[in-house]
Symmetry: C2
Amino acid sequence: MSTTRRIGTETSQTRTALLDATERLMLEEGYAAVTSRRVAARAGLKPQLVHYYFRTMDDLFLAAYRRRAEQGLERLDQALEAPQPLWAMWDLSRDPRRTALTMEFVALANHRKPIRAEIAASAERYRAAVRAGVDTVLERYGVDRRRYPAIVCTVMMMGVAQILVIEEESLGMATGHGETVAFVEQRLTEIEGSRQAAADALASA
Amino acid sequence: MSTTRRIGTETSQTRTALLDATERLMLEEGYAAVTSRRVAARAGLKPQLVHYYFRTMDDLFLAAYRRRAEQGLERLDQALEAPQPLWAMWDLSRDPRRTALTMEFVALANHRKPIRAEIAASAERYRAAVRAGVDTVLERYGVDRRRYPAIVCTVMMMGVAQILVIEEESLGMATGHGETVAFVEQRLTEIEGSRQAAADALASA
DNA sequence: GTCTATACTTCGATAGAC
DNA sequence: GTCTATCGAAGTATAGAC
């Protein structure tokens, strides 16, 4: 109950190094591999520093998540402003690193209640933003949104993209993926025209 | 290196109790919560019994997985023989307990290489079986399988069903789910007629 | 065939030194 | 403001008693 315990600065390089290490560990070995000792080892630091900068492991996870969630919304805005927003969103949803990390956080949220609340809220915000963007785009293209509601397009497009990534990354399974991608991209082509290349911004992880 | 170490019988009630406890733990708290101590506690047994019946934790996971995988193939066969196979498969894929458990195993496979191989092989087998079944059904209904290949229908239908369950179970998020389910079920109705009720076999978990 | 006593490792977290 | 020494709890796994 010693209320005087202190905590490190948000701008510390050490802190950033710990967040980076956390992310790498989650991607390579899953959230369960994120222990104070292993995070520290990855960053070349002492385990106790994790507790100095983040106090509890949940705080560490939340800090790592917030960093990515913020970046995710930025990328989404970029995609929605691209010349071909649907293609850009499709490509964004298929980014393996991004999706793998997201799914790792979802799995984490599944059994850590304090984290769940924040991730769920963030996911709702993201979905609402996508839906709004897709709705505008579909209207511009003259798509019948009674028959193809923006929210349905959003959930299905992002859902399929995510499942493909999960299967590929987690199981190394890709049976039927090529055909499914081709199918979705035919629909995209019908609506938005064929892909115009120039998807640069995605390369930078 | 003592090669003489013994192991419990496959028919032991204790063994079954441990497998049941493992499954419950995975569902309620995720695979990371499956430790020899906690599994044993759930089953009202001593932790060392886990190692007697399964030797390593990976063996425990694999045994738990095999039990469900077998059952999954049986359920699939039943669905494919139902009067409305597509509806039956859709319902099967949307079973929350089943899907949640599957995703937990996938997450586990993602960072335990020895387990990954077996789960991936099993997933491939399952997908092939679904694809074959769907192909037969689509042919019977006279669907143009050049335009709507069975493998694409399979991946999309099951993928969407899974993503919805994940979002609901892991995050408690359901935004857009109702609309998406309605959309898919409209397509099902177009192909297979409206749902004829009588999906009994699904109630038993 | 079934279970327990026990060894050894790794975990999260705090109090306190620099 | 930054980091380390250290504790108590929990983890996997084995050898051996019943």
